[in-house]
């Protein structure tokens, strides 16, 4: 524990720091420490280390770390077996011999490996690129897979393909690959730096397609086509693209079948932005040449529009499942549309790097180029270009102003896509459609089925009467389900009024989450617009539907429903409602349920029997306040519940104490504070403190009146929810009636 001496020393230290001049400090120290030598030496010691301490704890925390290291630590701490040691060792690798190769210089680093320039001694002396795979992999498997494809790789001979020469294992047991050394920059960079216009870019792209076509003919799929794997070098003054890393993705893909999320995440071979939908599924086996076509489509997209259809960052944000979903379901924006949505300055920059003005660029992309790209990017690979050559030829046709093969999709085809994008909405939509087309809706058909079953059961029990009632109920439920499904669909389209018309036909819905959400949305909507009768009806059905949900959602709904009944003037309904709520929560040990039940039930005075039944709930709520470490926001609201409880019990001093406690919390919440003032006003009045009562009432009234004058909004946890404001207003009316209409107060 901190002793008082230390505490005094710290007080003095803290004050001294605020004084600038040494004289002022000294005289303050003399005065503050008096003759206490021990105290003085403690303070002096703190002061002595002050500037070093400041330096040590630079404001803002820890020093900067390389992104790679930081990312890796985040990953590591989360249990990923990443290999920091190996990386650190590799940095010192220059000059070492790996296999027959001497590492000369580090020339690059990618997602999965570090690339060195190296020198080969035998059989010929030449410079090569040597890539050491960074991730911990089963090296034997990698090398074996590479060996298996080595024959095929050796058959590749194309000016736009960098040859893969060798593979092996480093001393530390990691796989490496040796390739023809290509000195160049990645294709996207080359194009931008040299401000290639769209036609020049397309010509370069055609060369890339032809290289890929060559590989495909030899039976080799690249699997990792992306800008950093296509380097442009200048030969005889002409830009020549070179595709690198052939065969590597295949060799290291063994781990792809490992389907724990984390390893999958780390083992992504392709950059997510360039990954085909079928690769994203990671079934591993079923990837063919058409996956490369997709990646070529992404490359073309980026060359034209300056960014891939889905950014890696965007894809990673939603986690692995979101990534798969996006790649498999979300249709990419057409390049021309993508460019159109760009910000002014970005668009200008994009156009400039393509030697065009923005509007010309957009109109150049619109139409044929859009369709070519979209065709290459089809989710269903059967709809893509069948070969890289096919894609290249279509681009060539465009350059030659001939009609392209890719066409805008037909209407039927677009409908299909729409269905794929919005499966859920479409199921709801389909139900609506079927119901309309068939006359007898889906739901009615289900009812039919269920009735048949029931009938058999009922007949067996000879209960014809009951069966009839049962039938009527089933039919009603089926119809209600149908209304709800349609309403949900309409709400999703933001067609609230139409949805509400439908929901108005619902008589007694079966418990379901869908029904809940529909009725809650509509109930709230009515309440915010002051339609109390409709709001009460929706909430009435909602509470019936709530049986599917957990207690949390139910108390939320109850908190909303109580004030609505009172605002509607349905005191009898409120009476039944609160009895049901109390019965439901009696026996709970959760302070939150206790507190909420008080709040739900005490909007108006209650009889002695009801007050008695609320006592245990009140105790549960109060007991939690004695425990340390609970949340102040929650506690402050709990005081409100306990305050109104005490007031209704006639324990006015206690009510006032709770309100004061509530007002002592520093969390600002206008509605909570107003409510505390209002309850306190009533308590003070009962205690005979009329003046105080009037001033408290005023303090509570102002915020409530201005909130409603502004128009009630849904609100939030810190500004107050709409039903909190209703709660406050109901109590305000009670307080006004009590205080201002009494003879002792002159208005």
């Amino acid at each position: 524990m901190i002793d008082t001496l230390t505490e005094r020393a710290e007080d003095i230290y803290y004050s001294v720091l605020e004084m600038k001049s040494p004289d002022a400090r000294r005289s303050f120290l003399d005065r503050a420490c008096g003759g206490d030598a021990v105290l003085r030496s403690m303070v002096e010691k703190l002061l002595a280390s002050q500037s070093d301490a400041e330096k040590f704890f630079q404001e803002g925390g820890v020093a900067r770390l390389p992104v790679g290291q930081l990312s890796q630590s985040v990953a590591d701490t989360l249990g990923l077996a990443e290999n920091v040691e190996a990386q650190a060792r590799e940095d010192e690798a220059i000059g070492k011999i790996v296999g027959h190769y001497k590492l000369l210089q580090r020339i690059g680093e990618g997602g999965c490996g570090i690339v060195y320039m190296a020198e080969q001694e035998k059989p010929v002396r030449r410079r090569v690129a040597l890539k050491i795979i960074k991730l911990g992999m089963d090296t034997k498997g990698v090398v074996a897979r590479f060996e298996a494809e080595r024959q095929a790789l050796a058959l590749m001979d194309h000016p736009n393909i960098a040859r893969v020469l060798d593979a092996g294992a480093t001393e530390s047991g990691r796989p490496f690959f040796v390739m023809e050394l290509v000195r160049g920059v990645k294709i996207t960079e080359y194009c931008d730096q040299n401000e290639l216009d769209t036609r020049q870019r397309l010509r370069l792209f055609i060369l890339v397609c032809q290289a890929i076509q060559h590989a495909h003919q030899k039976g080799i799929i690249h699997r990792d086509i992306k800008p950093s794997n296509i380097l442009v070098t200048i030969i005889d003054g002409q830009p020549v693209p070179k595709v690198i890393d052939f065969g590597i993705a295949k060799a290291i893909e063994g781990r792809l079948t490992d389907n724990t999320i984390f390893t999958a995440y780390e083992q992504f071979i392709g950059t997510p932005a360039y990954m085909s939908p079928e690769q994203a599924v990671m079934s591993g086996v079923d990837v063919d040449t058409r996956s490369d076509i997709y990646s070529l489509g992404v490359l073309l997209y980026e060359l034209l529009a300056g960014r891939p259809p889905f950014e890696t960052r965007e894809l990673m944000e939603s986690g692995i499942d979101g990534l798969r979903r996006t790649l498999q379901e979300r249709e990419p924006q057409r390049p021309s549309a993508m460019v159109t949505t760009m910000q002014g300055s970005a668009l200008t920059l994009l156009a400039r790097s393509r030697h065009a003005d923005p509007l010309k660029l957009i109109s150049l992309l619109r139409g044929d180029l859009d369709w070519i790209v979209i065709r290459a990017l089809e989710k269903d690979r059967a709809r893509r270009y069948e070969t890289a050559n096919g894609l290249a030829m279509d681009v060539q046709r465009f350059l030659d102003n001939e009609p392209v093969v890719a066409r805008p999709p037909s209407r039927y085809y677009r409908l299909q896509k729409l269905v794929r994008r919005n499966k859920v909405t479409f199921i709801a939509g389909a139900i609506v459609a079927l119901a309309m087309i068939g006359g007898l809706g889906m739901a009615t058909w289900f009812w039919h089925q269920e009735r048949e079953e029931r009938k058999r059961a009922v007949v067996a029990e000879h209960m014809a009467m009951a069966a009839e009632q049962q039938q009527a109920r089933l039919r009603m439920e089926a119809e209600d389900g149908e209304f709800i499904a349609k309403a949900a669909f309409l709400i999703s389209q933001n067609r609230i009024i139409e949805a509400d018309d439908l929901a108005g036909k619902v008589s007694a819905t079966k418990p379901s989450l869908e029904a809940e959400s529909v009725l809650r949305t509509l109930g709230k909507w009515h309440a915010l617009n002051g339609h109390w009768t409709q709001a009460a009806m929706r909430f009435g059905l909602l509470l019936h539907a709530d049986q599917m949900d957990d207690s949390w959602a139910i108390t939320d709904d109850l908190l909303m429903a109580g004030p609505i009944l009172i605002e509607r003037g349905d005191m009898q309904g409120y009476e039944q409602f609160r009895r049901a709520a109390i019965a439901h929560y009696t026996g709970t040990t959760d302070p939150i349920f206790g507190e909420r039940t008080l709040k739900i039930s005490l909007l108006s005075p209650a009889d002695a029997q009801m007050m008695k039944s609320l006592e245990p709930l009140s105790e549960v709520a109060a007991s939690s306040l004695e425990k340390p470490g609970s949340n102040p926001v929650m506690e402050s609201w709990r005081c409100i519940s306990l305050g109104i409880m005490a007031y209704r019990q006639g324990n006015h001093p206690a009510a006032r104490t709770w309100c004061q406690k509530c007002l002592s919390y520093s969390e600002y919440n206008p509605v909570r504070i107003a409510t505390a003032h209002i309850i306190q006003a009533m308590a003070c009045y009962r205690l005979g403190e009329v003046e105080k009562a009037i001033s408290e009432l005023e303090a509570g009234r102002k915020p409530v009146e201005s909130e409603f004058a502004r128009g009630l909004e849904e609100g939030n946890g810190s500004a107050g929810f709409w039903y909190d404001w209703l709660f406050a207003r109901i109590l305000l009316r009670e307080a006004e009636a009590l205080i201002e209409k009494s003879p002792s107060v002159e208005k």
């Binding site: 770390l65 995440y265 926001v633």
Partner: protein, 185 residues
């Protein structure tokens, strides 16, 4: 809506259990962000850990639904997450440097203020564990200031104490921790 947003809303509603759910979600958020960055930037590019936390927050708060309360809770959780991440990182790095064993740091010949960041983190962590026992509130201030770079206002909101108390805690903690480190020599 993200899970974090939901949890923050639950906290705002005053649901006590909600804050426990926050930490794992924050970890997840930081991980996604860090991985995305790893793919985008070269490994040598430096980044302040606190910047990562702030970036994560900006993305969450982008929808404008979060208030200061959510912010405070988020930052407190992020501070704990960052602490663990950075301490783990530093442990691994120093273990490597000292040849594998769980060696104690040698602080003798070091000018403390010039300690490399990794070792600094470990030294602070050691002293912090002591502080957690003797003065838990102050320890929390240190975690939020040192590991997450929160402002005094943010810490004050989080701990529900005045800004001046936060400042006093932090000023005194720095001197106190530094002395502990010196004494350890």
């Amino acid at each position: 809506m993200s899970d974090i947003t939901l949890v923050l809303e639950a906290i705002n509603r005053g649901e006590s259990q909600a804050s426990e759910k926050l930490l794992p979600l924050v970890y997840n958020e930081l991980r996604n962000l860090a991985s995305a960055r790893m793919l985008h930037e070269s490994a040598g590019h430096t980044l302040q850990p606190t910047a990562l936390v702030h970036e994560a927050w900006l993305r969450l708060a982008g929808d404008g639904k979060q208030n200061w309360k959510g912010r405070a809770y988020f930052f407190a959780a992020a501070a704990e997450a960052m602490r663990r991440i950075l301490v783990e990182h530093a442990r691994r790095k120093t273990r490597l440097k000292h040849g594998g064993g769980q060696q104690r740091l040698n602080v003798e010949d070091l000018q403390l203020a010039e300690t490399p960041p990794d070792e600094k983190i470990l030294l602070v962590e050691d002293a912090l564990e002591q502080l957690e026992r003797s003065n838990p509130e102050r320890a929390r201030v240190v975690v939020m200031k040192f590991f997450a770079g929160m402002t005094n206002k943010e810490v004050a909101d989080m701990l529900d104490i005045g800004e001046r108390s936060v400042d006093r805690h932090w000023v005194c903690a720095k001197a106190w921790l530094f002395q502990k480190l010196q004494d350890a020599q």
